[in-house]
Amino acid sequence: MTEGAPIRREPPSDLSQMVTVVKYELLKHTRSRRLIGSIAVIVLIISLIYAIPLALNNPYAGHTTLQVEVIPYGPVSYAFLNNSHALNDTMVIHVNGTLLPRSNSTWIFNEDGTNRVLFMSNLSGQKVVADFDFKTPAKDFSDTFMNFMNMLVIILVTFFGADALVSEYQNRTAYLLFPNPIRREVMFAGKFIASFIACLTMIGLFYLLILVLSLISIGGVATYLGLSFCFAILYLLACLAVAYFVSSILKGSTGAIILTFFLLLMILPIVQSVGMISGMKMWFLLTFMGTLPSTALSWDNYPIDSVQTIPGMGFTLYDYYPDPGTSAIVMFAYVVIFVVMSIFLFRRKELTG
């Protein structure tokens, strides 16, 4: 035994303690199976989304030659290309093996998304071949992956946030950590920041993979991919705050994990769907803002709300999109409100078990 006499100490600053908590929480995360699981899920989903079109012989970019079916229309005729990403500048038309020179008096290609080639003469009955390069627009390429974004955020906050607080009680690690000279709110902040960093790293990996694949496959990146990333971060923060709130009110890790997952994946979306059917825009629901990372890609041509009445069906379909400004404020409010409530509950929670 070489114990010395007791030493009188002062606790370190809150900031220093918070940094310590962040560091060791991150160490826990990096060694957990959840981190490896998250990386595996991201890589698997991205690979699948990327590979399926290729497996179905629908490459993202390339060169193709195809015979088109010409439809007569009075003195002129037209044809639709079976490829929505044809590049106008590269297009060449051959009629019966002979090049049809390009001019406004011979043929034009509509770049309005109809993929229609308009011939100034009636070419019906003749063998017309279109030869062109094609390339998926960068926005569309990135958007393909964004369908998974909402799900990814839900998985991540469930993995790294849902039981962050409650597990301290259930696993009895609180008996080790709480009798220390550290405020509960500092402990909370350290844990929350560590969870956020872990989730953010995964989201960052997701966007990085999209960026790399986009550069490799189509040689460019969506203009608003960065903006989409910003909205994804804000959405992540709001979801994480809700997950921490669940973690602060429940008594068991399993319950907290299940409730967080189904709350964000099913319960809120069901409420949202009911609103959609009844014509109510649920702008205040967290999951309503889950599409923002996707819609942000169309920032310069942002989708607008629409109402469609289905003829003969007797009901109306409402198609609502989150307003970026309002949504940003609402998500920020979610973060503040749920973090404050979680801290309040975490401070009051007693270790009575």
Binding site: E3, P6, R8, R9, P11, K28, Y175, N180, E350
Partner: protein, 313 residues
């Protein structure tokens, strides 16, 4: 610093619904004192310790550590406290070295100090070989030893221990008691709950007994032993005594109780000092009992405890 003890509990009450787990408890522990906190299950020991370590809040009353109210300023009150409450669990992904480093930083220790103290303490609790292994694989006894190490890490003035030898094998218990005895000589203030009365008698200089959340008695081990004024003698016999001999000894004026766990072993509880013990031995020999061993078991505290708890319940 006022004249109050380094641990000062005043009218402390904790109510869970209609149940008062701690009922108006007042207790002072002086600096350097080693106090055993005794009571049956549900007496309020752990609840009191949880209030002292800010794991739960008091309903009313004061709990001061070095003059700072732990219920109001837990951060400063716990700065010089090392605690083992129940059997804590550790983060399974961390190693003992990493765990001690984590807690040391939270407590404001310098990295070099953490490093040297960790090595020293892990050696003390015999976990040096396991220092870089993840705690997830540890046994309960190993975790308990690590819990003791983390409590001592920052050389706190106050040690609060809730059944510190729980989960340890006999050898581990002896080792922890040795550590605690050494800490006592170094001037640490120890406040420990335990079910093991011989352990308390060995490690502590004072004892507080509570039941139903109320303090029944609080005094030095020496005074309480005298208060009990009853000693248990363990007698081993060469052959089983006759019924008449046993009855004769049982009727002897100093004998309060007699038990026979086996034909050739007799437990005698008697009141008195050395003189009475001699007379008792003589009486046994006169009754033709073939005594081959006659040793006091020193459980005066146990007897007192049983008496107090019996009266309380």
């Amino acid at each position: 610093m006022t004249s109050e003890g380094i641990i000062h509990i005043e009218n402390l009450t904790k109510q869970f619904g209609v149940v008062k787990a701690v009922d108006n408890l007042s207790l002072d522990v002086k600096q350097g004192q080693s106090v055993g906190f005794l009571g049956p299950n549900g007496a309020g020991k752990t609840t009191t310790i949880k209030i002292l370590t800010h794991l739960i809040n008091a309903t009313s009353g004061k709990a001061h550590m070095m003059g700072v109210d732990v219920t109001k300023e837990p951060r400063h009150a716990l700065a010089n406290v090392g605690a083992v409450v129940e059997t804590p669990e550790f983060y399974p992904f961390l190693t003992p070295i990493e765990t001690l480093s984590y807690l040391g930083r939270i407590r404001g220790m310098k990295p070099s100090e953490i490093s040297s103290r960790s090595e020293e303490l892990l050696h003390t609790v015999k976990l040096t070989e396991w220092k870089d292994k993840r705690i997830g694989k540890f046994s309960k006894g190993m975790k308990q030893r690590l819990a003791i190490a983390q409590a001592l890490l920052h050389e706190p003035e106050i040690l609060i221990l809730d059944e510190p030898t729980s989960g340890l094998d006999p050898r581990g218990m002896v080792e922890i008691r040795e550590i605690l005895n050494h800490l006592r000589t170094e001037g640490y203030t120890i406040f420990m709950s335990s079910h093991l009365l011989p352990e308390v008698q060995e490690v502590c200089d004072s004892v507080a007994v509570i039941d139903y959340g109320k303090l029944l008695v609080y005094d030095s081990v020496e005074k309480l032993s005298k208060m009990a004024n009853m000693t248990r003698i363990e007698v081993y016999l060469a052959e089983a005594p006759s019924k008449e001999a046993v009855e004769r000894v049982a009727r002897f004026k100093f004998v309060k109780n007699i038990e026979r766990p086996s034909p050739m072993i007799v437990y005698l509880d008697y009141t008195g000092e050395v003189e009475q013990r001699y007379l008792l031995l003589k009486e046994m020999l006169d009754a033709d009992m073939k005594v081959i061993s006659f040793n006091p078991r020193g459980l005066a505290l146990e007897n007192l405890y049983m008496q107090l708890i019996g009266d309380s319940r």
